[in-house]
Amino acid sequence: MAVDLDHPAISGYLARLEAAAAGLPPGRREELVAEIRGHLGDALATAVDGDDAAVLAAVDRLGDPAEIVAAEGGTQHYQAQRDAAGPPYRAAAWQFPPAQTGLGAGWGAVELAAVIGLAVGVLTGGIGIVVGISCAWISDRWTSREKLLATVLGLLPALALVLGGLTFVVGGAVRSDVKSGSVQPAPAPVESAVPVPGGTP
């Protein structure tokens, strides 16, 4: 080759490249620097010795060392897309992952466990409800609103049981009262509607 690769512009550039590539895996850094060095050798093969302009132009065309090293890892998003697509063909940058819409789109094992737990909660004596609600809050796919909804829905049967129990107790007491007065018993849920004699002043 006609141009000496010990030219200060070249050695300076390679030094900057080496520094920028400090984070690359062992072996790859040396490989990359050697490839860039070989590239400059090829680019300047026909240049006349002492042609500083040609040297500077060749170095300039290579680009910023930081940019070259950044391309080594690829942008993380792009890399992830390629990995997800699997070999041998990778999704191009303008292809976007399918939008998650519709029922079940944001569901994984935790979310499924939450629903099953809540569904069989009553049958398992309340353990399912506890498990279901816990799973719902652990989920990283559901939004806070969805978690709250799962909690309310999960607690509804328990609430119904408590209310039912109260109604039974209160209703029983009222029934025994009205029985002594030989009045037809009112349906349990409306026991509060039974007028209390002399209740209004």
Binding site: M1, L17, R28, E31, L32, E35, I36, G38, H39, G41, D42, A43, A45, R61, L62, G63, D64, P65, E67, I68, V69, A71, E72, G74, Y78, R82, P87, P88, Y89, R90, A92, A93, W94
Partner: protein
């Protein structure tokens, strides 16, 4: 869309297409880095920083789409040559199909296909003639 956003489109398009252009060049015959750069620089705007071709080739190698070998050169030290693998050929075939479909779709919407870019010339003229 802001003019700034429009400018960002080109790097994205380039990033997706460049590696398949490299693969396509290797489909003809094995090549070394500078040889690829020389070919790619013929297409304007495809390769902005020549040095980034080496990280790209390294990725293709890791993905098993290309293999490398060292060959003696007439002038100077041995060169590293890159050649396409069977997987690389399959990837290229898939991309050519996808690219054709993608390009035709965009052309149809923009009216920049075989029917010609005349439509935009007319549209531009009309806009300019309007008083406001």
């Amino acid at each position: 869309m802001e003019p700034g956003e429009a400018r960002q489109v080109l790097p994205q398009l380039r990033r997706g297409a460049l590696e398949y252009c490299v693969i396509a060049l290797l489909c003809e015959r094995p090549r070394y880095g500078f040889d690829l750069v020389r070919e790619l620089s013929e297409a304007e705007g495809l390769l902005t920083s020549e040095g980034t071709i080496y990280p790209l080739l390294s990725r293709l190698r890791k993905e098993g789409l290309v293999t490398t070998s060292w060959r003696e050169s007439d002038s100077g030290p041995p060169r590293r040559y890159y050649a396409l693998t069977t997987d690389g050929r399959a990837a290229l075939e898939r991309f050519v199909q996808d690219w054709t479909r993608f390009r035709d779709g965009v052309d149809r919407v923009l009216g920049t296909g075989a029917a010609g870019p005349d439509r935009w010339a007319v549209a531009e003229k009309t806009t300019k003639e309007e008083p406001h």
